[in-house]
Amino acid sequence: MKVSATIVLRGRGVVGGRAEGEALVTRHTIPGWGGVNPQQGVITETRHELRGKSFKDKVLVFRGAKGSSGWSAMYHTARLAGTAPKALVFNEMTTKVALGAVVMRVPSVTELDRDPLDLIETGDWVIVDGDLGIVEIQKVDK
């Protein structure tokens, strides 16, 4: 793996702490209860572009949360099951994603100065600093 470029985005920290990992990116909103299997860490919603994909230990980069009010409880359960993402980067703030990020206890950042969905691709290495509200993207040569 060779890093070809580094991009730094600045935003607002939602949950503090620092983590890094491989990005899993979707322009879709992400479901909670009824669209995810927290024990396996996998999206199960029928027509979701990430259907069958695992978010375990990934830096999840997504538009926002949708669907059931069981969102936080599902990702909270994922934390207990050891399948939670390592960090969150998202665009649209809702109560679901805020509470979910809090109880997942993973560094999370939103309100970035450039759209992370335009700049981060699945497979990029991403460092998320929730204390400073900074996201560093290391583009990986493919």
């Binding site: 939602v14 936080s72 359960t77 207990l80 703030m93 990020a101 809090v102 999370s108």
Partner: protein, 431 residues
Amino acid sequence: MSVRLTDAEKAMLDGRDGKARQKAMALLVRYAEALGAERFVDTRNVAGVPGSASPFLQQYYAGQDEAGLDAIFSHFDLDSDELVEVPQALVPTFHLQGGADPRQWQTLGVKVEVFRNYQEREAFAARHDVSILKTCTPYLAGNVPAKGEHCAWMESSAVIFANSVLGARTNTEGRESTSAAMLTGKIPDWGLHRTEHRYGTHRIDVQVPIESVMDWGMLGYFVGDAVQERIPVVVGEFAKPEIVRFKHFGAAASTSGGVEMYHIVGVTPEAESLEMAFGRNSPIESFTYDRAEQRRVYDQLNANASDPNVDFVMLGCPHAALEQLRDAAALLDGQRVSANCNLWIFTSRAVESEARSNGYVKAINQAGGVVLTDTCSAFAQALPPGTKVAALDSAKQAHYLPAILGVQAWFGSTRDCIQAALTGRWSGERP
């Protein structure tokens, strides 16, 4: 810290009102900070699932309780690393759906030890003064908030009903925030608690007749997909909807997207006019719902069904209103459900009791159907043994059931579904 606390809130956070309320306040402060909220509002109307537990949570926290201290509530509901003694609910709190029908749990295929756990968790909630409504439709079972009332509700289909139809104010809260609100009477003053965030953002022009419950469900599914978590303003010529149509429209819109509030011009309380619905906002985007869109939605909801041999019909998502049980009984009309098919209708304990008084439960039972409470197939992950093909009259259930349980699902009208139950075959038609 951006959130400002009153003296009473500070005292709670400092532990003056005991350890559990301190942990609850601490969680609410973390949550408010994540949102970027500046303060809390007081609430005296909380709807959640305090202390409830899936078999996974039961197993995960097994053996961690100590005398008088509850591991599930402490560690999961309050996200506290410390085990705390749980006091009574501080404000009126209502238990939403969960567990299994208290009399017919075996029909749902629930194992006896799992049912005992559900009973224990229900007793825990009841001991802490939580009203055991056990429904996703609290507004049909005794909790009807007033216009402007600040609530802390879970259950996306109930949240959208409270905001849009009743004019009450709640965001879509979660398990942990509602349990924390139960102990503190506080919830972040953010989003739909604030007037400026309740105005419409997107316009939906309806250009196809909208009459039946099915029509409203499909329109809701379209709207949610179109606007995601924003606030749609629906404009069109149609007969004024009532409770059941609002229920199916909202449930669908909060499933295909994350809609928590909508306006229907000339119908809902904060939309007497188009101007009132949008306030100072101009529509970000406009969508037209015509026959072609309606057909597209119908096809999406029926996308994974191909086998016309229906072995399961499920009604009551969200939980059936009394008139829906009446309609089901009337459509069955003394006939028998096919030997190859099961008919389950889900409702709340309150409405089930009313339906029993009216003889609807007896009529459904005599036809071979079952009326069940507390949960639904998707929520309980419960189907009759061997189910391969389901028929549903709820866009929400049709969205979830195939994803959760891997069955085929037909979507149509209540009449289509009852017909399928009687014949064992799907004969619903595309609009």
